[in-house]
């Protein structure tokens, strides 16, 4: 068990590229921390620096209070689970799991006992003598976990360990990883680009962009109080809708109509010295079919009417897509998010607003629908810096 501290850790490649810049993270003993961000944000580099597989250009890495920058990976007593699992193909499951113990010159009886314990936990007992090539994806993943847990290391590092599994299995494994970590209470750093994993697994989430930490906090906190446009757009699925708007004396003019801000939002915006031009963000779940909103509640929000482009009925809820005439807000952050999602240019022009409606909504594709949204949940962002003007952490 260990606490891991990254103190202004920076990774600069010989060609000058900055992969990680001044990263400050304090990971408490037993904590489960997620590093999340789009590809190329430096999350894997950060993990490799903790592992000792990449050099730290500047700053300090402390494990249990001791400087670890120069330690070889084998001397750090940290186990790692790789995206590709990295199982040794020429060894059986048993040998794979025993490998770290054998290297540590643990006696045979203990090796046997520990491997069998780990196999028991991971439900691998009947597969111990098979080769990795004869295992399914989920089983391989569990062997990789098993190899990490047998030697009870100070910490686990996991590099997108579930990304090679199919969606259903990923959901199951997510739960078991979470259980396992709680059961063992071992400090864990987990890298992913999947915001669902980030939201569901970690005690705390570190959002990275371009090698720079954007925000650190509990999943719920990041969802409720994103520090900037990037975090707001990255956390939450489907992601937050952004529209350009002008703010004048507490009244917001946007493609979704003119909205009077609630006092809370207005005070925050004033305190943040909000400019006239802003980006307004509303999460899909803060919309509702106006017909289903009680009269008393309606006053706390605003409505707009537009034809439904596409309606997706998920059973428990419905997603209605609308097109807004004007261009949606675009900033560097949003473009990066869009590029990461692979949706750089959606044909058809205009811009799409995603709303989540109750399953009982009678919205139909192609028909006009009046949609209500909660004005108190609107978040305003500075279009130039991306800063959240309504941040209240």
């Amino acid at each position: 068990m260990a606490e891991i501290v990254l103190d202004k850790v920076t990774k600069r490649y010989p060609d000058g590229a900055l992969a990680v810049s001044d990263m400050d993270i304090e990971i408490a003993d037993g904590e489960f921390v997620i590093l999340v961000g789009p590809s190329g944000c430096g999350k894997s580099t950060a993990l490799n620096m903790i592992a000792g597989l990449e050099d730290i250009s500047s700053g300090e890495l402390r494990i249990d209070g001791q400087r670890a920058n120069e330690k070889a990976p084998k001397d750090r007593d940290i186990a790692m689970v790789f995206q590709s699992y990295a199982l040794y193909p020429h060894m059986s499951v048993r040998e794979n799991m025993a490998f770290p113990l054998r290297l540590a010159k643990v006696d045979d009886a203990t090796v046997k006992q520990k491997v069998e314990e780990a196999a028991e936990i991971l439900d691998l007992t009947q597969h111990l003598d098979r080769r990795p090539s004869n295992l399914s994806g989920g089983q391989r993943q569990r062997v990789a976990m098993g190899r990490a847990i047998v030697r009870s290391p100070k910490a686990f590092l996991m590099d997108e360990p579930l990304s090679n599994l199919d969606a259903k299995l990923r959901g199951q494994m997510r739960t078991s990883v979470s259980k396992l970590q709680k059961q063992l209470g071992t400090t864990t750093v987990y890298v992913t680009h999947d915001q669902t994993e980030a939201m569901t697994l970690g005690d705390r989430v570190v959002v990275l962009r371009g090698g720079i930490v954007q925000q650190i906090g509990s999943p719920q906190f990041l969802y409720d109080h994103p520090a900037n446009l990037f975090v707001a757009g990255f956390i939450g699925s489907p992601s937050m809708n952004f529209v350009p708007a002008t703010l004048e004396e507490g009244v917001l003019k946007s493609p979704l109509g003119t909205i009077t801000l609630t006092d809370r939002v207005r005070r925050l915006a004033e305190a943040a010295d909000a400019p006239r031009e802003v980006v307004a963000g509303i999460r899909p779940e803060h919309f509702e079919d106006a017909a289903l909103v009680e009269e008393t509640h309606r006053a706390s929000g605003a409505t707009f009417t537009a034809p439904v482009d596409v309606l997706e009925s998920m059973g428990a809820e419905k997603y209605a897509y609308f097109t807004v005439e004007e261009e949606l807000a675009t900033t560097a952050e949003l473009q990066e998010l869009a590029a990461d999602a692979g949706a750089t240019d959606v044909p058809g022009g205009g811009s799409t607003i995603v709303t989540r409606l109750s399953a009982s909504s009678e919205a139909r594709e192609g028909q006009q629908l009046q949609v209500w949204f909660d004005a108190d949940r609107i978040q305003l962002f500075d279009p130039s810096s991306g800063r959240n003007l309504t941040y209240s952490g």
Binding site: D24, D55, N69, E70, A72, V213, Q215, F221, A227, G393
Partner: protein, 314 residues
């Protein structure tokens, strides 16, 4: 639980200049150099020094039969070789053999590659059998052809050449040399091309046939362009190899009747003539020619030099 917000700094100055390499990195560099050293030393000792030495020798009059007359003569040897009709005949012969045999090998090799790649029956057998010419000692194969084309002994000479002795005439000899060369090296060409074929995705060919391409169009418009890098590498390998042709000529004609290659000429000057100066000059000239061929392939055709890709590094 602490909640922190970090203002995103636009740029960060690097701290403290160059960071010292960690133990792991230093060990890696040391290990890398240590592991490569023996191979590098052997290669340099057996080629680097002799190359320099051979350039030095080429500037001297140095005949082992008359060692006393050894002296520095500048470029005289080059003048002597380059104004000698034997050299140019050998050079022309070598070029002819190289171009013709590589061209035939490309066509046959492509056919063979397609057969090995696509055949429905006996794929293992075809691939195994194809390797036989590659594996066989060139001299052995050359003797087989030699006897086949020797009058009376040989079935081919008896069947095809009538009363003549093809290996005593220039043109028939050259064609037999090409036959021997093509037979021996086509499998190698085919294997390199087959590796290229394996890189052509099946879906691409299916898509092309859906788009209405017939077999020949699929071959020329889809396969060949996708395989182009593999084809160029195969051509580069084989051209350079064909230019050094020696074994086949040595056995088949001994270089008689103007069938000598530049390598044969060099060998004759050195081992038979014991003329180190002229032999070295020829060595240097061959080296320059080969370098030119490689240059043309790599710079003009854009052949990727094998091994130059760093793809698998990290």
């Amino acid at each position: 639980m602490s909640q922190t917000v970090t203002e995103a700094p636009a740029t960060t100055e690097p701290r403290g200049g160059k960071a010292a390499l960690s133990e792991g990195k230093k060990a890696e560099r040391r290990l890398g150099l240590l592991l490569c050293a023996p191979a590098a030393i052997v290669m340099l000792a057996v080629t680097g020094y002799p190359i320099a030495y051979s350039i030095w020798l080429s500037l001297q009059r140095y005949d082992l039969r008359f060692p006393a007359e050894r002296q520095f003569v500048g470029l005289d040897n080059y003048v002597a070789v380059l104004s000698n009709s034997y050299w140019w005949t050998a050079f022309g012969t070598t070029m002819f053999l190289t171009v013709v045999s590589v061209a035939i090998e490309l066509v046959l090799g492509m056919a063979l590659a397609l057969i090995m790649h696509r055949t429905l029956v006996g794929r293992g057998l075809v691939r195994t059998v194809t390797l036989v010419p590659y594996g066989i000692v060139t001299v052995v194969a050359a003797f087989s052809w030699f006897y086949a084309w020797t009058p009376e002994t040989g079935y081919l000479a008896n069947a095809l050449a009538g009363d003549g002795a093809p290996l005593t005439e220039q043109w028939p000899s050259l064609w037999i040399i090409i036959l021997a060369e093509v037979w021996k090296t086509t499998p190698f060409m085919a294997l390199l091309l087959m590796a290229g074929l394996a890189l052509v995705p099946d879906d691409l060919l299916k898509a092309a046939s859906m788009d209405g391409a017939n077999a020949w169009q699929r071959f020329t418009k889809v396969m060949v362009p996708v395989m182009k890098p593999a084809i160029l590498v195969a051509l580069l390998f084989r051209t350079l190899d064909a230019f050094r042709i020696f074994d086949n000529i040595f056995v088949l004609t001994k270089g008689a009747n103007d069938t000598s290659s530049v390598s044969m000429q060099t060998y004759n000057n050195l081992i038979k003539g014991l003329n180190l100066g002229i032999g070295s000059t020829m060595s240097v000239l061959i080296f320059i020619t080969v370098a030119l061929i490689a240059f043309v392939f790599i710079k003009v055709f854009g052949t990727a030099a094998p091994g130059s890709d760093q793809g698998g590094k990290r």
